[in-house]
């Protein structure tokens, strides 16, 4: 399956030009969004978690989830060998069963993009790279843009950037916006995922505002977290971000994606999130073009559950490749 993210140029967002004219306008717009009631949002997220997905629905959901995984390694100890090994798993998650789809992408640091490009040549698996001084985002804009440029020129087809949470929390929304616009430009044809780092924004109101800000600035995806901060992806955060892309599509006609990263480890969690995508954003979002899981351990559990469904028995963990 070839993956093409919904294309956005930002050009057709001229109707929003006065919203992003200056910081005061942007602030008025973001603070004018309807509030999020924390208790109600948590209750809704929990209620969706009680859907019972069995048999054929479960089989569909597991394969869909596998095809939406951004298989990720973002450690200081990463090496070419580690990345090459992961790329093989990305292309052939289960070598014993050709019906298992490849994952959507691998996600690595910029210096390992070239390794991934070589390892994935000829496959449909995309190469995502974190950039912009990931994970803290604390560097000069010029440095961040160099980071992005290097990843893109090495062959990254997707860029996962982090927003400047310090600026966001201080109310300097236009600085955050301008930075995303600049990174988008530096990304060229690569698709841009904007990491909000929900665990540092904390409130659902802040996550809703950051989501809209990122979408207005041209992010193709909004992404929960770096995976380096706890809590990362949680159901209430996912709920609010899915509502944001749904509402953004209703107002602009543009489909943008959501990526949940960090904390999604089990098939059960993944299926609950697919239910949420289905019932909050809508079934149009149930595609790797518009929904991703950034994860490392999740793939193994999906494969274990897939075996269980087909054979009726659980395999031991040793029947699944470690990495």
């Amino acid at each position: 399956m070839s993956i093409t993210l919904g294309s956005t140029t930002g050009d057709d967002l001229t109707q929003w030009a006065d919203v992003t004219r200056d910081n005061a306008s942007l602030r008025r717009f973001l603070h004018g969004l309807p509030g999020v009631d924390q208790v109600g949002a948590e209750a809704r997220a929990a209620a969706l978690g009680t859907r019972s997905i069995k048999t054929t629905a479960k089989a569909w959901a597991i394969d869909a989830a596998i095809s939406m995984v951004d298989l990720t390694t973002l450690e200081g100890s990463d090496t070419s060998g580690k990345v090459r090994s992961m790329c093989v798993r990305a292309m052939y998650p289960d070598p014993t069963d050709a019906a298992v789809p490849p994952v959507a992408a691998v996600c690595v640091y910029p210096d390992l993009v070239a390794t991934a490009v070589a390892a994935l040549r000829g496959s449909s698996v995309q190469i995502a790279s974190v950039a912009t001084a990931f994970p803290s985002g604390r560097a000069a804009l010029a440095t961040k843009l160099v980071d992005v440029g290097e990843a893109v020129s090495a062959g990254a087809t997707e860029i996962d950037m982090v927003i400047d949470r310090g600026a966001f929390l201080a109310g300097r929304y236009l600085d955050v916006y301008d930075e995303i616009v600049a990174v988008k430009a530096a990304s060229g044809t690569a698709h841009l995922k904007v990491i909000l780092e929900t665990g540092e924004l904390v409130t659902l109101d802040a996550v809703r505002r950051a989501s809209w800000l990122s979408l207005l600035a041209g992010g193709d995806f909004i992404k929960t977290s770096t995976g380096k901060i706890t809590p990362a992806a949680t159901p209430p955060f996912a709920l609010v971000m899915l509502q944001a892309v749904r509402d953004f599509a209703a107002r602009t006609g543009q489909l943008r994606g959501v990526k949940l990263a960090g904390g999604v480890r089990t098939s059960k969690d993944a299926i609950r999130y697919l239910v949420m995508v289905n019932e909050i954003a809508g079934e149009r979002w149930l595609t790797p073009d518009l929904f991703r899981f950034g994860a490392s351990a999740l793939l193994n559990d999906l494969l274990l559950q897939r075996h269980k469904l087909t054979t009726g028995a659980y395999d031991g963990a040793d029947y699944i490749a470690l990495d």
Binding site: P34, V36, D37, A43, T56, A57, K58, W60, A64, V275
Partner: protein, 477 residues
């Protein structure tokens, strides 16, 4: 990629351990009632579930005498701490048999299993736990240093929350030292009889609780019986008025929890997504068979279009069908009679010029079903804005100012509940202070807790159930 079709995920019907026939529970024993043998049916399929040997007026007399004996000889004299042990035991037994009770409730009532499993049964257990805690602390409840029980309580409950209403009635009565003669609704006797089974298993002294399924004549016999000291009724305002007349001059104490036509007020600064959930929960929870349902939606005109659009989208995701399927959101209407009433009132909405809307929603061929329905363009004068529909039908009105919202909300003979949605705390308090309703929910709806009192203003009844206030109806002080 194909779409995400949820495969059927039904809870097993066997879990309900249905018996072919059930009797009545009098003086600690299960016996066949002297009334008619009546079949109770599954409203989702119209299939008979079991036969009930209903009670007669004669059985009521036997039960009241048994309750009196139990009151005089044991229950009213028992120390509160001892009564509490029984109540705790019942609460635990409800939890242990929770799955059975949930399936049974969904079979007999038609409500979705996710509601009976996650709301009805856990709350029923919670009420017993809560009032068990009060049983030995009545001297500190604010009703004088030594409040006393009243005697035999006659209790008549509705079909919308069969087990939960039984718990609301029985738990505070027992905690305060009263004994009980309870009549469940004619269409939904099964969980109440199973509760009798639990009570028998818990070795409650004979006669403390008597459960007598039957029709209106049994209810009338309980209300009229001279040996009954207190009447507690939940049901329609019409029947409530009849009860009031029957007991006038009898000296019996009465508490009535009757109908409602609650306003759910959405201010323009409301958290819209959560408000939409609250609207859905307010009127489509339990198919709208809820006396405190938020059946009148009052939306501030500046956000009217946004709210209605969001509501349409949300309704399109509701799943109507088999009540035992764990993914069902909307179950069956409880009876043919109730369905006819809903249809008649909805037709009056059409006739009086309101605009009806329902999501695309195929209805099963058998059973009693009504799709989730919204009427817009409703006037305060329309029948669907004034009469209790007791079904999944929402009437939408608009307002311009907070005062107008309050005026419209209060412009009803009912006054059971109301909802207020705004991010502004001061507006919540301003509004709540002016609403003539027993329960006002802020930024939520249809939330229940045993510690929170519940009851109405005006024609929604009087007396409070739940919380410390719920003790008062069962105490003399």
């Amino acid at each position: 990629m194909p779409t995400f079709e949820y495969a059927p995920a039904p809870e097993s019907r066997d879990t309900a351990r249905l018996k072919p026939s059930y009797g009545i529970f009098v003086d600690g024993k299960f016996v066949d009632g002297h009334g008619a043998a009546v079949k109770t049916i599954n409203p989702a399929s119209e299939e008979p579930l079991a036969e009930i040997a209903e009670a007669s007026a004669e059985d009521v007399d036997i039960a009241v005498k048994a309750a009196r004996r139990a009151y005089d000889r044991t229950w009213s004299r028992m120390p509160g701490a001892e009564r509490a042990k029984y109540l705790f035991r019942i609460a635990r037994a409800i939890q242990e048999r929770g799955r059975e009770l949930a399936v049974l409730e969904s079979l007999d009532n038609g409500k979705p299993i996710k509601e009976s499993r996650d709301v009805d049964i856990p709350l029923a257990a919670a009420h017993f736990f809560y009032y068990a805690g009060w049983a030995d602390k009545l001297s500190y409840a604010g009703f004088g240093p030594d409040p006393q029980p009243i005697g035999v309580a006659g209790q008549v409950i509705p079909w919308n929350f069969p087990l939960l209403m039984a718990a609301w009635k029985i738990a505070p009565a027992l905690a305060t030292g009263n004994t009980v003669v309870l009549k469940p609704a004619e269409t939904t006797p099964l969980t109440a009889i199973t509760l009798a089974d639990i009570i028998a298993d818990c070795d409650l002294p004979p006669g403390v609780v008597n459960i007598l399924p039957g029709g209106p004549s049994v209810g009338q016999a309980i209300v009229d019986h001279p040996g009954v000291d207190k009447i507690a009724f939940t049901g329609s305002t019409g029947v409530g008025k009849m009860i009031q007349k029957s007991v006038a001059t009898s000296g019996k104490r009465v508490s009535l929890e009757l109908g409602g036509k609650a306003a759910n007020i959405i201010y323009d600064d409301a958290p819209i997504d959560q408000a939409v959930e609250g609207i859905v929960n307010g009127i489509f929870f339990n198919q709208g068979h809820v006396c405190c349902a938020g059946s009148r939606l009052l939306v501030q005109e500046s956000v009217y279009d946004d709210v209605i659009a969001a509501l349409h989208d949300r309704l399109a995701t509701l799943r109507l069908g088999d009540p035992l399927d764990k993914n069902t959101d909307i179950g069956a209407i409880n009876s043919a009679a109730q369905l006819a009433r809903i249809q008649e009132l909805a037709a009056s909405g059409d006739a009086e010029g309101a605009t009806r809307w329902s999501p695309e929603c195929p209805l099963p061929n058998k059973g009693f079903w009504f799709p989730p329905t919204i009427f817009t363009g409703v006037s305060q004068a329309n029948r669907i804005a004034r009469e209790e529909i007791f079904g999944p039908v929402l009437s939408v009105l608009s307002f311009r100012t907070p005062q107008e919202a309050v005026d419209k909300a209060n412009n009803t003979p009912y006054g059971l509940s109301a909802g207020v949605w705004t991010e502004k705390g001061s507006l919540i308090l301003w509004t709540a202070n002016r609403l003539r309703a027993g329960v006002v929910w802020a930024n939520t709806f249809n939330r229940f807790d045993p510690a929170s009192p519940f009851g109405g203003y005006k024609e929604s009844g009087f007396g409070r159930e739940g919380g410390r206030h719920g003790l008062e109806s069962y105490l003399a002080y």
